[in-house]
């Protein structure tokens, strides 16, 4: 189990470094202007996307935090969770639909390139950053707000003395996470950028393998991408500051603090329009588009079937792998073998550092000389996506399982509760909610994935995201919009079914 998880990325890496000798002109690529330009653009767009997402997100999250009750607050917060489930290609269709040449807020032809990439990245990452930042305000003790009020702090002093210190802890980590997501973003750059001027490492890897058939260059690019991601990961570890807070005993949340400020509500509404508009516009475009022709196509239904197959198998594989990994980890940690437990933890989070296209390249290069990789599309895509989903499973399920273990393991041992009965009476009821959420997230991610399927897919094995990409490539934008709506409904539907089906009713 554990072996498989560590081995898959490792094999690819070992394999990558062994390869360059076998094509001509290998290491020359380090000096190539093309690679330098791709690297520069990758970093540039990721930095800009991060700044444009996180800085406004601070203001929006603050507005949410200081405005604890206003009509539709919960609804708007849920809207901000939506981009997590919306596949990147669907978001791209939304952005095209709003800002494209026929859109409501047309930018003319300049949408393709850096502008479009930034618009789409901010659409994804601004809400994400808001959701990640908001809990930081909840770490400020209620007593601190009261003291601030009693001491007569101005809004600026409250920000400087109460809010900023709470935020400072989390900000570097959140910025680096967004940076990493933008650095490894594939679908957005492939569809909205892609020209020689606006290509990132991730897309360049794909183009080298699938268009230029130049595995050596792909390998160099993949190694470069891996290096950059590792640097970001190391920076994240270094910057993670330990909080300097007293341990809170009571939340004291019953004191209600009301600081009504119309500016805050306005800010939230602007952000909500930015997030909601692409989805709304795409919805309108899709319903006024060639719905019947697209739905009637046999090809679409085949793609729906494959998308579902990949999504559900990936969720199953990823959740099972994560479950056993975490159980093993919890038992090791409980037995005092913290060193080995940390190793298992590391194996799970290493996937964070290795982008899917890098693993994909490894597998592609490893297998392509031995078998026909295009015949093995489904297993390959499912395994890579399951690996990619592992960090989500670990994050969603890890805390619950560790807590269960720490609280109830002695009790279970003394009662002799083990095996299936322990699962049935203890672990399932206590962890089904996190389990459902993890499965739903991984399924939605896998169904919306364009990267791995683009690398290994063919027109015969296309999933919905790939179909959308093909339609876009053929300039059949109305068709692509309708297909995007189908994919969106499918993702939301599967997400909802898995979350409720496995997790049970919300208040259960």
């Amino acid at each position: 189990m554990l072996g498989l998880i560590i081995l898959a990325p490792l094999i690819s890496l070992v394999n990558l470094s062994g390869l360059p000798g076998y094509e001509s002109g290998d290491l020359q690529f380090w000096h190539s202007r093309y690679i330098r330009r791709v690297l520069w653009f990758s970093l540039w767009q990721a930095s800009l996307s991060t700044l444009l997402s996180v800085l406004p997100a601070i203001l929006v999250a603050r507005a949410f935090a200081l405005q604890p009750s206003f009509p539709m607050r919960a609804l708007l917060l849920r809207l901000f969770a939506l981009p997590l489930v919306v596949p990147a290609v669907v978001a791209v269709m939304g952005v095209v639909s709003v800002y494209g040449s026929d859109g409501w807020v047309s930018l003319g032809g300049s949408l393709y390139g850096l502008n479009g990439i930034l618009l789409a990245h901010v659409f994804f990452n601004l809400p994400l950053a808001v959701r990640l930042l908001l809990p930081q305000w909840q770490t400020i003790p209620e007593h601190h707000w009261q003291l601030g009020e009693q001491l007569g702090m101005s809004a600026w002093q409250r920000w400087r003395l109460l809010e900023w210190p709470a935020l400072r802890e989390a900000l570097p980590g959140i910025m680096l996470l967004v940076f990493m997501l933008c650095l490894t973003s594939f679908a957005v750059v492939l569809t909205l950028g892609g020209g020689p001027k606006s290509t990132t490492l991730e897309v360049a890897i794909y183009q080298s393998l699938r268009f230029d058939f130049n595995p050596a260059r792909a390998v160099v690019l993949a190694l470069l991408q891996l290096l950059v991601c590792m640097l970001v990961a190391i920076a994240t570890l270094k910057l993670q500051r330990l909080p300097e807070v007293e341990i809170a005993l009571n939340s004291g949340a019953r004191m209600n603090r009301i600081m009504h400020n119309p500016l805050n509500v306005a800010l939230i509404l602007v952000a909500a329009v930015y997030v909601g508009l692409p989805l709304l516009s795409m919805l309108v475009d899709a319903f006024t588009g060639p719905v019947v022709q697209v739905i009637a196509s046999h090809y679409l239904w085949l793609a729906i079937g494959k998308t579902l197959l990949i999504g559900l198998s990936t969720a199953l594989l990823s959740v099972c792998a994560g479950w056993f990994l975490l159980q093993y980890n919890a038992s090791l940690a409980h037995a005092g073998q913290t060193g080995r437990a940390k190793l298992v933890d590391l194996a799970g989070s290493i996937v964070y550092v290795v982008p899917p296209l890098v693993i994909g390249t490894g597998i592609f290069v490893l297998l392509s000389s031995r078998v026909d990789v295009f015949k093995w599309v489904y297993p390959i895509v499912i395994i890579i996506n399951a690996l990619m989903g592992l960090p989500f499973v670990i994050r969603s399920l890890g805390a619950t399982l560790r807590q269960n273990y720490a609280r109830y393991d002695y009790l279970c041992q003394s009662l002799g509760l083990q095996g299936w009965n322990r699962f049935r009476y203890l672990e399932w009821p206590l962890s089904r909610r996190s389990l459902g959420l993890a499965a739903a997230l991984v399924a939605a991610l896998a169904m919306g994935d364009l990267g791995v399927i683009a690398l290994f897919g063919t027109p015969e094995t296309a999933t919905l995201p790939l179909v959308i990409y093909q339609q876009l490539g053929a300039y059949r934008i109305p068709d692509a919009t309708v297909t995007a709506l189908v994919l969106l409904c499918l993702c939301l539907g599967v997400f909802w079914l898995l979350e409720r089906g496995i997790g049970g009713k919300p208040d259960a």
Binding site: E142, E149, Q150, P165, V245, E246, A248, L249, M255
Partner: protein, 236 residues
């Protein structure tokens, strides 16, 4: 003198019951408030501090109503059980916030803050962060800040509850001296009858959102006729 006159309050929500307070505290007095959890002790302090707004009634300090004043202008300092200090600021800065939240201090204000720190027995710890202090030292810093604020009303909301008996007694003595020196009016919420004995000549028993009794502390603790008091204190 602090006078709470027919002060009414009710939390939002169906299951909350109305609270109704009447109470007088003399200058220089430390009045203890005891009573079951949820009886309204902390609510009363929050009403005086202005964190909660009363439905009706008056809060009078020397016959002047303060119940309409904004929180920052009230003549009130409060010390909680925890979270009194800002963890990223050192001791001196935490105290100096009581003088001026912009932290731009005149030289004589700096020496005032230092004097308060020394008065609370924290001399030399000015540059420590709260995380590097003991629980007792942290509460002393909070008291030093209350001292430099020079407000007439001092509210102690279970301020010493997390400390051991000896330390509690020591800090209560300190508070009594400060209150006496500055002719403040102080109220101490505590769960330890012994604290009330050390701190207060008179103690108020709060029950179901009302001041059920105000009596000399020893009388209340040992000879009260009220069944609620007997239930709260337990067997003799």
């Amino acid at each position: 003198m602090l006078e709470i006159r027919q002060l009414a309050f009710r939390y939002a929500g169906e299951h909350s019951s109305p609270m109704y307070f009447d109470l007088k505290v003399e200058p220089g007095e430390v009045l203890s408030l005891i009573g079951p959890s949820g009886s309204g002790k902390s609510t009363l302090l929050a009403l005086i501090a202005g964190f909660l707004a009363p439905g009706s009634g008056r809060i009078l300090l020397d016959d002047e109503g303060i119940e309409k004043l904004p929180v920052a202008s009230r003549p009130v300092s409060i010390v909680f059980q925890q979270h009194n200090l800002f963890p990223h600021l050192d001791v001196f800065t935490n105290v100096a916030l009581g003088i001026n939240t912009s932290l731009r201090l005149a030289p004589q204000q700096v020496s005032e803050a230092n004097a308060a720190i020394a008065r609370l027995g924290l001399g030399g710890l000015q540059l420590r962060k709260p995380g590097e202090l003991s629980g007792g030292q942290r509460q002393r810093v909070a008291l030093a800040r209350a001292l430099v604020r020079r407000r007439k009303i001092l509210l102690l909301d279970e301020a010493f509850a997390a400390l051991g008996p000896a330390l509690r007694a020591e800090l209560i003595e300190l508070v009594k001296n400060l209150v006496d020196e500055c002719k403040m009016v102080a109220m101490l919420v505590s769960h330890q009858p012994r604290d009330a004995l050390i701190a207060s000549a008179r103690t108020a028993f709060i029950c179901n959102g009302k001041v059920a009794a105000v009596e000399p502390t020893l009388t209340l603790l040992e000879q009260s006729e009220l069944p609620e008091v007997r239930d709260y204190l337990g067997a003799p």
